[in-house]
């Protein structure tokens, strides 16, 4: 048994690639000049080529069978309304984490809900359409079957609930899954733990984010919205932020 720690680097040639270099090459995370010289090396080096192929296969397997992320599980069984995704929304979570934050690292403050109006409480969302994840914008067009992940921004602790009135004037609770508003901490742009798949009801939809100083019961608020869908009910101890978007029929991305 070897008693000495050794680096893999000791056994390799001077031009050989570290695991880090191979991972970066597989991810397409190298400049073109470096990539060219690395790929030339792979042609001549059996060890590096084998490690590169292993890493490539592992990346393909991961993309195909992404491990489920352990997000809090919530499911609503309302056939006429939206469904809440299970932790199988891991693909969405990974897509949001990688695609969104790498591709959309810089937001347009004019339309980006995630940086709206500092100093007050706001809700926002990301939308996943097929494999594409993008930040929700005011007046956005989303599609039936898209997944939404909500965010919030607030400077004080409290309780949050997000309700919706859809194109058919149906009112529903998107967040949280329980009967009362959920405790939240101050955050500048925090994603909530569950995702929602939009159902087939098309048309203009309005989200209402209730930021409250206590865990209000949600059914009375939902019922009030259903009775008068044009106005957010006044709830003692709560401020309300609204976002509207238009939902179109399902389309293949």
């Amino acid at each position: 048994m070897s008693k000495r720690l050794h680096s893999p680097y000791e056994k390799r040639g001077a031009d050989c690639l570290s695991d880090f270099a191979i991972d970066a090459l597989v991810a397409g995370d190298v400049d073109s000049e470096k990539e060219k010289s690395q790929r030339e090396h792979l042609v001549t080096c059996d060890d590096c080529r084998a490690r590169f192929e292993n890493a490539s296969h592992a990346a393909e397997d991961f993309s195909r069978d992404a491990p489920e992320l352990n997000l809090p599980i919530a499911r609503k069984n309302k056939p006429n309304n939206v469904r809440v995704l299970y932790a199988a929304s891991s693909v969405f979570a990974i897509a949001a984490a990688i695609l969104f934050f790498v591709r959309f690292g810089h937001h347009d403050p004019e339309t980006d809900l995630t940086t709206r109006l500092k100093g007050s409480s706001h809700i926002g969302f990301y939308v996943k359409h097929g494999a594409e994840v993008s930040p929700g914008t005011i007046g956005a067009h989303v599609h039936a079957g898209d997944a939404l992940r909500f965010t919030y921004a607030t400077t004080s602790s409290g309780y949050l609930a997000i309700l919706s009135v859809d194109g058919a004037k149906n009112a529903s609770v998107y967040y949280p899954d329980g009967p009362t508003a959920q405790a939240i901490e101050p955050a500048s742009n925090r994603a909530l733990s569950s995702s929602t798949i939009l159902d087939d009801t098309v048309g203009h939809e309005t989200l209402y984010g209730f930021f409250c100083d206590k865990p209000i019961a949600l059914e009375p608020v939902r019922a009030a919205l259903a009775a008068n869908s044009d106005h957010a009910p006044v709830v003692d101890g709560c401020t309300v932020d609204t976002i509207a978007f238009d939902k179109d029929p399902n389309s293949t991305p």
């Binding site: 893999p8 390799r12 695991d19 995370d29 490690r51 491990p67 992320l69 690292g105």
Partner: protein, 140 residues
Amino acid sequence: MRRARFLLGSEDDAREMLNEIFVSLLDKPEQFSEKSSITTWLYSVTTHGCLNRLRNERTRRRILSESALPPSETSNESPEHAVMLRQELTRLPQELAEVAVYHYLDGMTHDEIAGVLNCSRRHVGDLIERMHAQVNEEKS
């Protein structure tokens, strides 16, 4: 995932670590500010996360009592080497443990390690020397 699985010696712990990293990224997107490449960022945050977990008392006890030889996750690592490295990582101070991961596990060059640690190549050389000295001292 590969690195986390090797460092933690447990598939379940590695999945948990992956979960924490991505949920944290969703929660606080400002963590990745694109000042480094995504590979660099992922290597750094995975290493930090795994080393923090190794310092967890329960994990540390498990690692230090490892005698069974887990399957090696990299083609160049013997199971004995994997166990030995994990045990050293639980003993080394954070800064030296980090360098040990990049040096002994990833086989990274000094330049690559300097890129991840955001320091000079010379400082990387110093850290590796100190790390070797500490590892050898423990074995003597």
